[in-house]
């Protein structure tokens, strides 16, 4: 092969990698499945924008099922169909960031671009502040207000238990008053979210719940997993470089047109948002064909499908699927231009059963592992009653004394090893209610009670696979403890 060829191949691979990564991470517009739910949300939003109807609703679904993506995709569609810029105001809040009410209000003000109007105003209550903001928004002769769409992500974090839920109360209250057309959409993964609401808040909520469950459209998780894989990994033919095309100027335009229709393509908006250009991704047409065939071959490969099946039974969280696909894609290089089933398999295995705690145990020193075993035996005998250092030491010395081959280790070193286990949270101190006289109720560290922080199965697994484990330890481990 010629040098330039190799160069161009590595360049092609680079583009493929970049494009698919973009698709995995940045595409928040394309949305699959959940047609009904999407339609529901779409209706709510268009009704408030076009007809000024106020609403409230909760979107509930587990992590990574696409709640955020659904909203983004609906908002994107609406923005193309209506003049959102002038007719509506979209305010996004996230419980992780705006959980504090003061911050929420500041952010609302900023998103309404009313910081100047508010200036040095001091408001008595939250409600006053909010209605001031709304009055500022009223424009035109009839003093009507723009429609407002509030999106509250991690909705449960706005439902404080200690403080009053002022923000929620006021927002829901507005949806009932005629102050302004407003739609409040809460997004959460907590099924029991209603129980977190104050009574007065609950009574103002519309009780409209939109549930999203992964895979409800197609019953079989494997099929949807496979579909996701093909959709994500395949390249749109519109990226193809048409070598014979002489009218160079028009090229980028026709690519743009094609992209609008291709289901494998990343929407133009996304590419623009990432400061990129479609022309960055021109790839040889033949290469695209080869690549897409390669993907098709993969999903027809039994071994590959076995791996995928295992994965799809482990989780239905699309976000985790995407993590795995990202890892697979990032492994591509000019020396390895195709996806290997073995790579996929090991990546899935890592994700499905990470067994990190087993690995952690196997990385312990023999002394530390011995202490874990001693503790495990002790817990077995005493039906899981917590143990302190002295008890563990006692069991350990009993073992060490019967085995001349084990080196004797001084007590301070063993204590250090024990503390190390605590640091790694392999053993965890039990909580004691620290009431009473402080000087006498505090205990020396040797007597603090601990219990195991990892399941016994993991210890068994770790001992089985431990490299160069002395046989006497193995015997001891397997010996019946009584």
């Amino acid at each position: 092969m010629l040098d330039t060829d190799i160069q161009s191949i590595s360049e092609q691979i680079k583009r493929v990698r970049k494009y698919i990564k973009l698709k995995i991470l940045e595409d928040n517009i394309n949305f699959r499945n959940h047609d009904e739910e999407r339609k529901h949300v779409y209706d709510l939003i268009t009704r408030v924008i076009l007809h000024g109807e106020s609403h409230s609703a909760l979107i509930i679904g587990p992590r990574g099922c696409g709640k955020t993506t659904l909203l983004n995709s609906v908002l994107h569609q609406v923005s193309q169909e209506a003049d959102v810029q002038n007719d509506a105001l979209i305010i996004k809040l996230n419980g992780l960031i705006h959980g504090d009410e003061k911050i929420a209000l500041k952010s609302i003000t900023a998103q309404m671009q009313l910081e100047n109007a508010v200036g040095d105003h001091i408001f008595g209550t939250f409600a006053e502040n909010l209605s001031f903001l709304l009055s500022c928004l009223k424009t035109g002769t009839d003093r009507t207000c723009k429609s407002m769409i509030f999106i509250l992500e991690e909705f449960d974090l706005f439902c404080h238990s200690g403080r009053t839920q002022t923000l929620l109360y006021n927002l829901f209250d507005i949806t009932h008053s005629k102050q302004a057309p407003m739609c409040v959409l809460g997004v959460t993964n907590r099924m029991d979210v209603m129980e977190l609401l104050e009574k007065r808040v609950k009574s103002r909520f519309s009780h409209r719940h939109i549930f999203m469950f992964p895979n409800e459209t197609c019953s079989d998780p494997l099929t949807s997993c496979k579909r996701l894989f093909v959709d994500t990994m395949s390249l749109p033919t519109s990226l193809g470089k048409r070598r014979k095309d002489k009218r160079k100027r028009k090229k980028s335009e026709c690519i743009q047109e094609d992209i609008q229709t291709d289901r494998y393509a990343v929407p133009m908006e996304v590419i623009k948002r990432c400061n990129m250009d479609v022309t960055d991704f021109e790839i040889d047409s033949t290469f695209i064909d080869e690549w897409n065939t390669h993907i098709q071959e993969l999903v027809n490969d039994d071994k590959f499908m076995d791996v995928l099946e295992k994965f799809s039974y482990y989780t239905v969280n699309e976000q985790i699927y995407r993590n795995v696909m990202y890892q697979i894609i990032s492994k591509l290089s000019s020396s390895k231009p195709y996806i290997h089933v073995s790579d996929v398999s090991s990546c899935v295995d890592e994700t499905v059963c990470p067994e990190h705690s087993v690995k952690l145990l196997q990385s312990l020193s023999i002394l530390e592992l011995s202490l874990v075993i001693a503790m495990m035996h002790g817990l077995e005998i005493f039906d899981g009653q917590p143990m302190n250092f002295e008890m563990v030491l006692h069991r350990y010395t009993k073992f060490a004394n019967t085995n001349s081959s084990t080196q004797s280790v001084p007590r301070p070193v063993i204590l250090k090893a024990f503390e190390h286990l605590h640091q790694l949270e392999i053993i965890v101190p039990i909580r004691t209610d620290s009431t009473g006289d402080t000087t006498t109720s505090r205990v020396q560290k040797e007597y603090k009670l601990y219990t195991l922080g990892i399941p016994v199965e993991d210890i068994k697994e770790a001992v089985k696979g431990f490299k160069a484990l002395p046989t006497e330890i193995n015997h001891w481990f397997n010996s019946s403890v009584m």
Binding site: K14, K18, K21, L22, I24, L25, P62, R63, G64, T68, N94, L96, I97, H98, D100, I103, N189, R273, C274, N275, M276, N317, Q319, N323, Y326, Q327, S330, E350, T351, P354, H356, S357, K359, L360, Q362, S363, L364, S365, L367, E368, E390, H394, Q407, V409, P410, P412, V413, K416, A417, L424, D437, T439, T440, S441, V443, Q444, E446, Y447, I454, A468
Partner: protein, 463 residues
Amino acid sequence: MEELISTIPCREHQLQDLMDLLGEGDEPLPYSLFVSGSMATGKSLCVSKLLQYLNYKHVFIDCIECYSPKILYEAVVTGLTDQEDVKCDSMWELTNILNGVCVQTFKYKPIVLVFDRAERLRTMDQNMLMAFLRLREFCNLNICTIFVTNLVNENFYFKMGVREPIKLYFPNYTKDELFKIIFLNQKSFVNYLLSSSDACIDGQLKEDLENPELFANFLNAFLSVFYRPCRDLIELQHMARVNFVKYCEPIIKNEIKSTDLTKLWRHIAPILKTSLELLYLRINTSKSVQSPAKENNATLEETTRSYENTLKEELLSTKTFAQSFELPYYAKYLLIAAYLASYNPPKEDKRLFMKNHGKQKKKLQQVRAKAKITEKLNTQLGPKVFTLDRLLAIFYAILEDKIGLTSNLLAQIATLVELKLIAGSKEVDLDVSKYKCIVGYDFIAAVAQTVGFNVRKYLYDFI
């Protein structure tokens, strides 16, 4: 890349994985990575070296140094914008800055935030950690957060679930790998040896000592003893450094030839065994030891070493330590009484301390024999609280001669509290005061020996 791999030996896989995930400058970065592995497995080193190599904009944050959210946010902002005195109180302000200044300066250039010792983040503010895991959702930047920790992922459990990071695991070094890594620093070990020796070393002797084979032999012997109780590279390097000096002592004194391996082994084996006892117990030398590649100040090392030796003696023989407390005669008995009160069940006091207890003692032995199966000895459960009158009762019982309850005696209890041998209030009140003995068995046995008292005889556990 080759170069990078050679500076961090035995981590090719991990470097390659990290490298793949972080990609090339213009590719989208993942949302977040979670890097875990035991102490001293090179996690932070690999991450920071690689980011330098890739020349990505990155901020390295030690979550122990940045102990509060505010300090942490401000460290991020300072790192990204090079402004010194920024104010940033909340995640909201941070995202504003990211979406403002940072979007302008960085566009879609890669940015990485590394949180070292991330286990600390859990106790700071759960929402903060959760927000950092999905930071990309909040700002239009090509930004990635990397969490480095020695805890496994399961310890980062959230009731509400999080956006899952991509996980990477750094396994411990094997014995061979440890050998390889420590061996790379052979020169610094030799330099340390030369600078810490008083004798003048030159010519043939110097050549002998600098011979890598000598060091390799030492290292083999060393690891054969130390690999079992310890896998921590930093600790091992420290111990190896101290012991290599001892290994070479007879060579310098011209007692053993540097080629006589069996003799050298016989010389070092007992030394290694005793220094095993010192493992982890060093104090305050971490700074000078953690980087053996650096040249160390020899005198400083010298002082720490001698300090270590005294410490060793003290720690290893609680006996001398206990005897170094020059307590008055009665105070010793009071302490012993306190110990007995702490570790004996009160209901056995009668049998243990009554003068005529011949018969009962037998019975007691039977009781104990049965109870022994439970294995839960009082001495293992830690000291129990006792009242002052019980202490005095035991005190008078074990003391042969009769003395009255003087204020002097009570004052001595206060002294014992002050010396932190027993815990309790310094105000001695016969009715309400409660105490607990907080010295160990070794200590009390040593004290008892000085007054010719046998503690075991009066300990419920040992009868």
